[in-house]
Symmetry: C2
Subunit: 402 residues, 2 copies
């Protein structure tokens, strides 16, 4: 097969708010190779990621992503890895390239799996897609009482693991945060897993993170996520040393394999959270999963968008029975909900699995998505270099590279 | 002052080749605050970097760079640092943001320096702008004889330090590379500093780098630059341990302060090379310079474009007398040459300095640049979100944020 076309579909809610909710828009990628089609998603700024695909080249190692993808042959996973190396080399100085490539890489796995009638996880070498325990991600409430009620309501919906984060956490006093954490535990009951997400709030400042540990330990929190900036390994390691009962988690921002493995090797995180739609796709995420296994660290997906992205982020650790927890988008915005025909829903045990179906096992519903689609037009010197494809009419078209 | 407008000017050669020559295009940034104007440059893909400024927001921490900049107050260096923190927070998930912000940050320093009639290096706390020894960057020749002739010719132009790199270096045998390195030394004579740049060619594979060490040591090379991917600290540190006579250099790709300081702390580089136009501007580059001083590591600028970018990248270590070597764009393409009115040229000792003039001390020549300017138009849902400003007509306009 030969990669004939890469098409980007940008969809969003009519109004995008300042909430830390990544499901408010989506950048879908459709790859066409002969008679075969695959779909992926970038967890990234849509316009910027499209620009990185079509930008005029600046020099030999600042080429647009498209230059390394269009026309390439695709006959097996080794071709995906080969094209990944091309992109890394030719777009070395184009920072956004990793985010753009991630969605394409995912679509290539989907396409290949559909062509071979195999799930992606099997092509990765796994014999089975193991059950995962989905955790629901929630924002902390405005008051501890509010947090308590949120915890009760999500517990009533049957989730055995819940993550609270963002909101005012980390911005006020440690005592105030302690009240929220205790309220979350009270609302969940003693059995559920409680996870806490600080959203990088302390930069590289160790002290405020240390001050939160006693409350987290008292509440039996499983992890404290992203206390610091993702490259700040020193405070990560110092906090990990101090936090015996609570694991440190992080990695969602990793846009290279080394960035994630460094967080394990130098930052001593106990949980590494990888978004396949940012790190360069499923292949690099699997490399991190292998490193996590070798290091005795638990791999977790990061997913806050659609079930297409969820399936993609589950594949890299689908076959790791001991890596049980997975992030599950519990209240996605409508655009992220309608974009897939299938949804990955908890079974009677409250568990989910990467689909046992060709590719990612998720079909995109362009028709349902139509009201949410936004058009992008980019011209250089008056010449169009990108125009959003129409959702259904005619054959997909190859985007021009200038 | 209040930041009223940020305008981007994209210029390029009529033909951009696949050479590893970053001077083939430029993205200039003009910031206007009241009656004051400052200029900066992004060392980055122009279209992608513009998109990161105007992209519709995806959520609270995936906002366009413009959202954190336009309308902000600017009364001193502390405001530049404050806006930098805003950008880092609000654009946490927009990978390209660091490259876009770099040019703006540089322009803010220039504007502030012009308003205060002070050079930027003085606002950074330096008492003096010390002389630097510029090194000329060259590509290796196609044959060792070719490399020899290039070395002779650049030596005849009066350069006391020369860097060879890229070309076929690292792609063939170690013996072949040894011939090139020996030829470079022969052509330069025994006194000149010889630097070698591997351009990340070995990924994270230590062995081929180890095999190049004997020839580099025999030729008295001062450093081996970028043997590996910038996040691959383990092979960096192992090579540094093995390479007693040759220092390891790297850091040009750093887009956060921590990325650069990690390369020092974990990668054990002896020379840290920072491009202010990528790392987030002059402030972050100065933070790396401070860390280099504290770590006994030598700070070096990375500059392969214009003299506006050169001045910006010299500022962070202008006052460090012992950090002597600086990169100097020796054969920039015409577009990078004409864009500045002033040029930073070697004095009778063959040395250069950051200008002792307000701001960066470099004026942009929009008139000379006119034949190289390219227009960019971006529309979302048919509504323009960016149109390239005209070079000279009327007051600068504020770019809309959708």
């Amino acid at each position: 097969m030969k990669i004939d076309a890469v098409d980007f579909f940008y969809a969003s809610m009519p109004e995008v708010t300042l909430e830390a909710d990544g499901s408010q828009d989506a950048l879908l990628v459709r790859v066409t190779a002969g008679d075969h089609v695959g779909w992926g998603e970038c967890e990234a700024s849509p316009l910027t990621s499209i620009a990185a695909f079509v930008a005029p080249r600046s020099h030999g190692v600042c080429q647009p992503v498209g230059a390394s993808v269009l026309g390439e042959s695709l006959d097996g996973p080794e071709d995906i890895a080969r094209i990944a190396r091309l992109v890394a080399r030719n777009s070395m100085d184009l920072l956004q390239a990793a985010h753009t490539w991630s969605g394409i890489e995912i679509a290539l796995w989907d396409l290949l799996g559909r062509a071979r009638e195999e799930p992606v996880w099997r092509m990765l070498g796994y014999a089975e897609s193991h059950a995962k325990l989905p955790y629901a991600s929630m924002l902390f409430g405005a008051t501890p009482q509010d947090t308590l009620e949120r915890a009760r309501s999500v517990q009533a919906r049957g989730f055995h693991a819940v993550k609270f984060g963002w909101g005012r956490y980390g911005t006020g006093s440690a005592a105030e945060d302690a009240d929220h954490v205790a309220a979350a535990r009270e609302g969940l009951g003693s059995d559920a897993l409680l996870l806490v997400d600080a959203g990088q709030i302390w930069g590289d400042d160790l002290q405020p993170a240390l001050e939160r540990l006693p409350a987290l330990e008292a509440a039996g929190a499983t992890w404290l996520e992203e206390p610091f900036l993702p490259h700040a390994f020193v405070p990560h390691a110092e906090l990990a040393r101090a936090a015996r009962g609570v694991g440190i988690a992080g990695g969602e921002g990793a846009h290279t394999v080394h960035m994630a493995t460094n967080l394990i090797d130098y930052g001593n995180v106990r949980f590494v959270q990888i978004d396949a739609a940012r790190i360069g796709g499923i292949g690099p995420a699997k490399e991190v999963a292998d490193h996590a296994v070798a290091s005795g660290v638990t791999f977790v997906n990061h997913t806050f968008t659609s079930h297409l992205a969820l399936s993609a982020s589950l594949q890299p650790f689908a076959g790791l029975a001991d890596h049980r927890i997975c992030e599950y988008p519990v209240e996605p915005k409508r655009v992220a909900e309608v974009l897939s025909v299938q949804h990955i829903t908890p079974d009677h045990n409250g568990e989910i699995r990467a689909p046992d179906a060709p590719g990612l096992g998720i079909d995109v519903d362009l028709d349902a998505l139509r009201p949410y689609l936004r058009t992008v037009d980019i011209a250089i010197d008056g010449v169009p270099v990108f125009s959003s494809p129409l959702p259904v009419d005619g054959p997909p078209k190859v985007n021009a590279i200038s």
